[in-house]
């Protein structure tokens, strides 16, 4: 029995070994082959070996007009613009009618130079010395032109593919403000940013990450504002990423975060272009990732959770400031309300006003569960409902949430399973967590709500404070690329604090937040007299009178 088993194992091992040996040397072979030869046939064969028999890789061999030069253009169908290729690359070279002069020049040996000279119509060309590099470019959507006898390879930028139109981000909608969101195409995203910041200091630094995905990652910043140390740190961390694939900016986020195990996100993400642009103008670094509309903003602080984009477009004094304070309250409610309710109704009855106590007591007559269990049950049910609501197709989603919320809740009350007060608490909590602008915050808070609830159920308000202090310890030690997570409350100045918690009018906002330690802090000069003032009415009136007096 054992022997047979061992024999089988040995066979399997051998097979595996052979397979890996087979695959390994081939790669090495072709890599070296790719580098050496300039003969077209060999190179084409090398490419075919490397890429396999994928149908969407098009290899078009053709000759130049005077039949002297053999060329091959390679591109990927679906990622390159075929019309452009045939019109502006193949036709001029091949068809004699169009450029006789070109073909006169053309001879073996100077083909590359000739093509470069005459194919100047094409907007984006470059040369690469190496076939592997060229293949890399081709896999990104460019088309490459192999010339028999020439070592260098021409690369044409013919990228074109189906992509989503620029539309309003689904998760970050505002009442007032632009409705443009990033798309999955890098070039579109960069253009969206360029349109907003037409300054020479705007830089796009490109890096690639992911061995198999070769995803393009672009760091965006304004050179004369940004904090150099943060920028350097970001570069370092991204360069250190060595992984198989980067499919979404979330991957990058996890790789470069200070504390990946923390419940709280230390990197902000957004789909909105105006928010991204504002962040860059504040001196932060923006990370664009190919194939995802979600961009990352570094560094950030905890109070990103209370800022929404339209705060900056609406009236400052009342609207935005009060709204921000409201959001702080909402944050606390979303985190603590069930815990407070359980703690007070189970341990600290002396806290409630008498009439409230009596109402709750009356409502809870005959409920089978203790308050903690009831709360946990309701919260869990609500989380299930919420997840279900996200997954359901849109037409059905609305109905289900209404059904779930109202009918089931009401039925539960009537059945005597939960008390009405608890339903109110849970509903309020849920609504509050929807009111938080940042989506990743609500996830964090949702998660934290449960331990706090349990702690409150065990030791009342003392347990709740215990939990809150633990969270506070964690928040206090959290950093986002050198900026304390609780800035500007911690280590900050009053100016920063006002800018974070309230919103001062634009004509008063002179400096960028100090906590970001940017190089150029001045947004506008204080003596510019920007404060808007209505023209003196009497003066205006007199002007009018004078004018009209003349008329009469």
């Amino acid at each position: 029995m054992n022997n047979a088993f061992f024999a089988l194992a040995k066979k399997i091992k051998k097979k595996i070994k052979r397979r890996t040996e087979e695959s390994r040397p081939k790669k090495e072979k072709t890599k070296s082959e790719l580098a050496v030869s300039d003969e077209l046939k060999q190179r084409l064969q090398a490419v075919k070996d490397l890429l396999g028999e994928s149908k969407d890789i098009v290899i078009r061999e053709f000759k130049s007009g005077n039949d002297m030069v053999k060329l091959a253009i390679l591109f990927i169908d679906g990622m390159s613009d075929k019309a452009t290729i045939s019109e502006t690359i193949i036709r001029p070279i091949q068809s004699g009618n169009l450029s006789i002069k070109f073909n006169k020049d053309l001879s073996a040996g100077n083909a590359l130079a000739a093509i470069e000279k005459h194919l100047s119509e094409f907007a984006e060309t470059s040369t690469v010395p190496d076939l592997s590099q060229a293949v890399r470019q081709m896999l990104g959507g460019d088309s490459i032109l192999l010339i028999d006898g020439e070592k260098e390879i021409l690369v044409f930028g013919t990228r074109s593919w189906q992509s989503r139109a620029v539309e309003e981000p689904a998760t970050e909608s505002v009442v007032r403000g632009p409705r443009e969101g990033f798309t999955e195409t890098m070039r579109v995203n960069t253009s969206l940013l360029r349109r907003r910041i037409r300054h020479e200091g705007l830089r796009f630094e490109s890096m690639k990450a992911g061995r198999r995905t070769w995803t393009e990652i672009v760091l965006v910043y304004i050179d004369d504002i940004v904090n150099r140390r943060v920028l350097e740190e970001v570069r370092r961390r991204i360069a250190a990423i060595d992984t198989d694939s980067i499919l979404e900016s979330g991957y990058i986020e996890e790789f470069i975060e200070d504390s990946p195990w923390s419940v709280f996100p230390q990197i902000e993400h957004t789909e909105r272009v105006d928010k991204a642009a504002a962040a860059i103008l504040e001196g932060r670094v923006l990370i664009l990732t190919d194939n995802t509309p979600f961009t990352l903003i570094i560094p950030t602080s905890f109070f990103q959770f209370i800022q929404a984009a339209e705060d900056f477009y609406e009236r400052p004094a009342i609207g935005a400031t009060l709204l921000r304070l409201l959001r702080i309250a909402v944050l606390q409610i979303a985190l603590m309300l069930p815990a407070i309710y359980v703690a007070v109704t189970t341990f600290h009855h002396e806290m409630l006003p008498t009439s409230l106590l009596l109402s709750i007591a009356a409502a809870r007559e005959g409920i089978p569960f203790p308050a903690v269990a009831e709360a946990l049950l309701m919260e869990a049910t609500f989380e299930v409902l919420r997840e279900a609501g996200i997954r359901l197709p849109r037409p059905v989603g609305q109905a289900i949430s209404i059904v779930g919320g109202l009918v089931v809740g009401d039925a539960a009350i009537r059945a005597g399973l939960v008390s009405p007060a608890m339903v109110i608490v849970v509903a309020t909590t849920a609504i509050s967590s929807f009111a938080i602008p940042a989506f990743n915050a609500s996830i964090s808070l949702r998660l934290l709500r449960f331990p706090l609830l349990i702690l409150a159920g065990v030791m009342g308000l003392y347990g709740l404070i215990f939990g809150l202090l633990l969270i506070l310890i964690h928040l206090s030690s959290l950093q986002s690329f050198g900026i304390p997570y609780l800035a500007p409350l911690v280590h900050g100045t009053a100016d920063d604090a006002i800018q974070t918690f309230a919103r001062i009018p634009w004509w008063m906002s002179f400096k960028r937040p100090r906590m970001l330690n940017t190089r150029d802090r001045v947004r506008q000069k204080s003596s510019a007299g920007f404060r808007p003032a209505p023209p003196d009415e009497r003066e205006l009136f007199h002007e009018e009178v004078k004018k009209n007096a003349g008329k009469r």
């Binding site: 002396e350 006003p353 506070l472 206090s476 609780l486 280590h491």
Partner: protein, 374 residues
């Protein structure tokens, strides 16, 4: 170094403020009322200002030995053996303080809020929290404190403002009726409490700007004096001095008595919340000082390994040092003021400073070693 963090003078001041204030406001009014009667609200500011003396002593010592904590410059001043002895006695001071504070905390919570819960639960959970904070470092404690101090001060001010309608100022008079002696006796307790600011001697080397310690320390003492006096005035104007003296926690009962329009009432849980936060910081600070002290006296490169064991010691002491509330009260009222002032807030620092000055004059060196290593 043992502690890589740096805190600003303002953070240090805030830290000291909460450290003093957390228990002062709860315990001192009763004790001072008992000793000084009507004059308690004069005795307590008078006594509290003694804290300024401690600040001055600590500041001068810290300037003469930049980058060194009191554990380190004790050795510099008094030589290895005596210096380590003094440093160890300070370590004991902080340890003892931490255990006492934890005990006060547990007593208050079990008396006033959750009577069925055993004392050890509160003590252990608090020490646990403090241990995590201490392990995270001084900077983290200071950052948390910035958050907590906002909470504490605004709640207290709000409560005092709300309660003004039930104050009856006449109850504060007559003053100076019984002469100076009761005032002096009443002043010793707040003086001892404010002497706790000697912890600044451990923190001063970690300031970004050590010279700022003078202003911050003074601000902390003055701030906490102001708050304590306000509390005393509030409590005495509602309850009168004799009644106050018979309570354990006058502030607690005071807050319980606020009842405006039958709606603004039942605030004592707010007291509990801010008090837990405040005592947490206070315990963390003393715990930290003790841990750092042990590390520096015994030449360790890191204070973190000591933290857990120290925590256990504090936990056990907090339960066994005082068998009942009477012992605790007796200690706080009779033994501790003299003990702490004569030894730690005044005695030893004064000794260190004088020896240092004498040595400085004798040998012509004005400064101790400069390096930051311990």
């Amino acid at each position: 170094m043992l502690e890589k963090g740096k805190i600003s003078p303002r953070q240090a001041g805030e830290l000291m403020f909460i450290t003093i204030m957390a228990t002062v406001i709860l315990f001192v009014p009763a004790i001072t009322s008992e000793l000084a009667g009507h004059d308690a609200w004069i005795a307590s500011p008078a006594g509290s200002l003694f804290g300024l003396v401690t600040v001055l002593l600590v500041f001068i010592l810290g300037i003469r030995y930049p980058g060194r904590t009191i554990f380190q410059y004790s050795e510099d001043i008094l030589g290895r053996f005596l210096g380590k002895l003094v440093a160890l006695s300070f370590v004991w001071f902080f340890l003892h303080l931490a255990a006492t504070v934890v005990r006060q905390f547990g007593d208050f919570l079990t008396t006033s809020f959750l009577p069925e819960t055993p004392l050890s639960v509160f003590n252990f959970t608090l020490i646990f929290l403090a241990a995590i904070a201490v392990l995270s470092g001084l900077e983290v404690i200071a950052r948390m404190n910035e958050f907590i101090i906002l909470l504490v001060v605004s709640s207290l001010l709000a409560i005092f403002s709300l309660s003004i309608s039930i104050w009856e100022i006449e109850n504060l008079f007559p003053v100076f009726a019984s002469g100076i002696i009761p005032i002096a006796r009443g002043a010793i307790v707040p003086a001892a409490w404010h002497g706790e600011i000697v912890a600044l001697a451990v923190i001063m080397p970690f300031l970004t700007r050590p010279r700022g310690a003078l202003v911050s320390g003074a601000a902390a003492v003055l701030g906490s004096t102001a708050l304590l006096t306000t509390a005393l005035i509030a409590v005495q104007s509602v309850f009168g001095p004799d009644f106050t003296a018979s309570m354990h926690f006058p502030i607690h009962l005071f807050v319980r008595s606020i009842n405006i329009g039958r709606i603004l009432t039942r605030f004592e849980v707010v007291i509990m919340i801010i008090w837990v936060a405040g005592v947490f910081i206070k315990t963390s600070v003393f715990y930290y000082c003790a841990a750092l002290g042990i590390a520096q006296v015994f030449g360790l490169s890191e204070y973190r390994p000591v933290v857990l064991s120290l925590g256990l010691i504090i936990a056990v002491f907090s339960i066994t040092l005082y068998s009942d509330v009477a012992e605790l009260a007796h200690f706080l009222r009779d033994a501790w003021p003299v003990y702490s002032i004569s030894m730690y807030s005044l005695g030893l620092p004064l000794l260190l400073l004088s020896v240092s000055l004498v040595r400085g004059k004798l040998s012509g060196e004005a400064q101790g070693k400069d390096k930051q290593d311990g």
